[in-house]
Amino acid sequence: MSLLEVDDIEVRYGAIRALKGVSFHVEEGEVVALLGANGAGKTTTQKTVSGMMRPSLGEIRFDGERIDGVPAHTLIHKGICHVPEGRRVFPRMSVLENLEMGAFRFKTHDEAVLDRVFELFPRLKERVKQLGGTLSGGEQQMLAIGRALMGKPRLLLLDEPSMGLAPLVVQQIFEIIREINDDGVTVLVVEQNATQALGLADRGYVLETGEVVLSGTGAELLADDRIRAAYLGEEIAH
């Protein structure tokens, strides 16, 4: 049984069908990447998995249990932690308060997890008292990931962790995602940066206008001509 099974889901924004029957699965311990251009439905897919959106058709199962339509604030108790698009740190809370928010589902936060977060992101430890809104983009991304880790995820959803960050910082973030995965956390990452994502991922799915058009292992997809043309070509051109 897969940890996460997404089975033919359809999601609508009013009359517009954003997802037209998307299916994929994530095995325990894997890193899976969802790739695609803007508007392909990657973020919508992730939001539907984390309970921020409700599918109009289809099923989502986590650990064999139906979770489609379960609201986000309940889903986190199953260990699905979502780092949303744009990081969304709480701007007027300190770094420490932001991290504590991530552990909101527990009575108190786990000191061992907090230590691990500071080990992964020493920058955050230096800035515990600083307000979230005053951090740089890269630091905010670290804080958002650290905050999600505080919730002790079994499945970590990352939405465009590389967005708006300098190449060096992107590299650093992806190395840390690798470490988090080595700690035993399953990762579903949405990315436009296909090279980085596929370098990290065990498997990937390519979305186009709300449908899965291609899937395979990270290496297969990296070698696929269509991927090279559609995504990597674009990046070389930059």
Binding site: P71, H82, M101, G102, R147, G151
Partner: protein, 312 residues
């Protein structure tokens, strides 16, 4: 000059009025924080607290009471005011706002709903309790105008001490709740970013309900204090409500310290400016709003308000 001689008295008066504005202003600002909505029925939540506490205090007050007994009656008044107003505010949210929120109604619908509830509550309390509203709060148990402190010609009366101390303690308690409890943390998180708060495991609907409970309780405390000091009636909310709303805007809507500051400032300005020889106390309300407008011209977000925008 007479005005200068009386200034300390005016300041005490201003502090007294201002603390009540602050308590009510906090309710506007708390709700605005989580819903970006001005709860225009909040003035009636305040009014309900005065009625609720009157019903209890008028039962307890007759007879002889020592200091301890009288303190207990005051405490009972504060608590019933807080409980009645909290329940009214909670119900208000449940029947007038939550259904609209769940249907994704536009902001204007909330506004109409708020105004409707405000009229409804004024009429309801008028119909149900009109026979009381001519009555004053019992005073014998309290001897409210007895001087407590006399410092260099300033007299501070019992009721003034009660108002200032009760308001201060209530605001300290609020600060503890907001900054020191999980409930407070969830209110702040929803105010800053509701969808993300939900991702942390916070039930947004429940947090909103509880915010109304807290804001209501603060207004109820003010309702009792105001009723005991100046009397009460089903239409008492309008004037206080408008002023307290102004105070919340003055301080920066959504900001708790701002609401406290705005309330105190408005109370003090109202007390010290109109008695100036060339103005006159009949201009009190004009002075209050001239100050409000003047401050907003220079600081459109209020004294402690900040531009609410996410840092990139």
């Amino acid at each position: 000059m007479n005005w200068l001689q009386n200034l300390p008295d005016y300041l005490v008066l201003g502090l007294t009025r201002g603390s009540m504005y602050a308590l009510v202003a906090l309710g506007y600002t708390l709700v605005y924080g989580v819903l970006q909505l001005i709860n225009f029925a909040h003035s009636e939540v305040f009014m309900a607290g005065a009625f609720g506490s009157y019903l209890v205090v008028s039962q307890l007050a007759p007879g002889e009471h020592g200091f301890l007994g009288a303190s207990m009656i005051v405490l009972a008044g504060l608590l019933t005011g807080a409980i009645v107003s909290a329940l009214i505010a909670w119900t208000l949210e449940l029947v007038a706002y939550k259904p609209l929120r769940q249907r994704g109604a536009p902001k204007l619908a909330f506004l109409i709903s708020a105004i409707g509830m405000s009229f409804f509550l004024v009429q309801l309390f008028g119909k149900l309790f009109n026979r009381f509203s001519g009555n004053p709060f019992p005073e014998n148990y309290l001897d409210k105008n007895a001087p407590v402190l006399e410092l260099g010609g300033v007299t501070v009366t019992r009721i003034q001490v009660i108002i200032i101390v009760a308001a201060l303690l209530t605001m300290i308690l609020l600060d503890r709740i907001v900054n020191g409890t999980k409930l407070g943390r969830s209110i702040r998180a929803v105010a800053e970013d509701a969808p993300t708060a939900a991702l942390m495991g916070i039930n947004i609907d429940r947090t909103i309900s509880r915010t109304f409970l807290i804001g209501g309780a603060l207004a109820g405390v003010a309702g009792f204090l105001f009723g005991q000091a100046f009397g009460f009636g089903n239409t008492m909310g309008f004037d206080q409500g408008v002023k307290a709303f102004a105070a919340a805007v003055l301080g920066g809507i959504g900001n708790l310290r701002g609401a406290m500051m705005g309330g105190l400032l408005l109370g003090i300005v109202e007390a010290i400016v109109p008695p100036l020889p060339f103005i006159g106390i009949e201009w009190t309300d004009v002075v209050a709003f001239v100050v409000l407008v003047a401050i907003l011209v220079f600081r459109p977000t209020g004294l402690l308000g900040e531009k609410l925008g996410r840092a990139a």
